[in-house]
């Protein structure tokens, strides 16, 4: 699990349209608006390494999104606290990602949603069984 040092200074990402981010802090809602305009599109083909990504936001984890050595935030002892299941086939109000790598990143005030098979994998991170 990622362990960014607590003493690490805040470094705000300067170019939110970049394809690769390293060792910077980002607000997910700023990233969404800057890349797509409110209400449109998916964030595709990005790499985040050693970044802090802040909400409030619900990330829609879609195809090709990989998490490597990430800290998903404070689950308060139960990964289910970070997961919401979409009731419909679409997921409005979320920030959708596709084909993106998160490597050694930390998430703050971020929840996760997506297809059941992806959420079930996320729920296994801390050993919690998927709730049916």
């Amino acid at each position: 699990m990622s362990r960014l040092p607590i003493t690490r200074e805040i470094r705000i990402a300067s170019d939110l349209r970049a394809t690769a981010f390293e060792d910077v802090d980002l607000n997910l809602f700023d990233l969404h608006v800057d890349n797509n305009g409110p209400g449109l599109g998916v964030i595709v083909g990005r790499t985040f390494r050693g970044c802090r990504l802040q909400g409030p936001a619900i990330m829609l984890v879609s195809m090709g999104v990989r998490f490597n050595d990430c800290n998903f935030g404070d689950p308060d002892g139960d990964m289910r606290n970070l997961v919401l299941r979409a009731e419909g086939k679409r997921a409005l109000g979320t920030i959708p990602f596709r084909d993106t790598l998160f490597d050694g990143c930390e998430f703050l005030n971020v929840g996760f949603t997506g297809p059941s098979e992806i959420l079930d994998q996320l729920l296994l991170v801390s050993g919690t069984a998927p709730k049916t």
């Binding site: 809602f29 409110p38 209400g39 936001a57 009731e87 419909g88 997921a91 109000g93 949603t113 959420l119």
Partner: protein
Amino acid sequence: MTDQTTPMSAEEAAGRALVARTTFEKEAVWLPMLAVQHWNAGEMSIKDKTFTDCVIEGPAVMAVMNGTFFDSCAMGTTTDVKALLYRPVSDVKMAGVVGVSNCRFVRCRFVQVGFTGSDQLLDEMASGIRSQASASS
């Protein structure tokens, strides 16, 4: 002897003034930023406010908590209301959502905003957007 406190920046003072407001009328409200301003002021949810004829913008998922009413609102542009709804996996805590309690939304339009809350709330919303109904926590 007490330490002297650092004066607030203009930006921080504007944020606190926003948090202190109880009414919003004919305004565009960016929900994620309103939530962040509340957090910066030490309040973990948006509460005790009335929004009238406002556009409430996301991207955000609102956790509808006790005492929140929707009166004649357009909840979102979708053919399937379920696309706006999220069911928590946990019944203890939710991360990433914007908590809203004791708020009234009158003739507001929601853009890129999803909703979550109790099973009762979600069932009511799924069966036809509820109006004038209080949400249970």
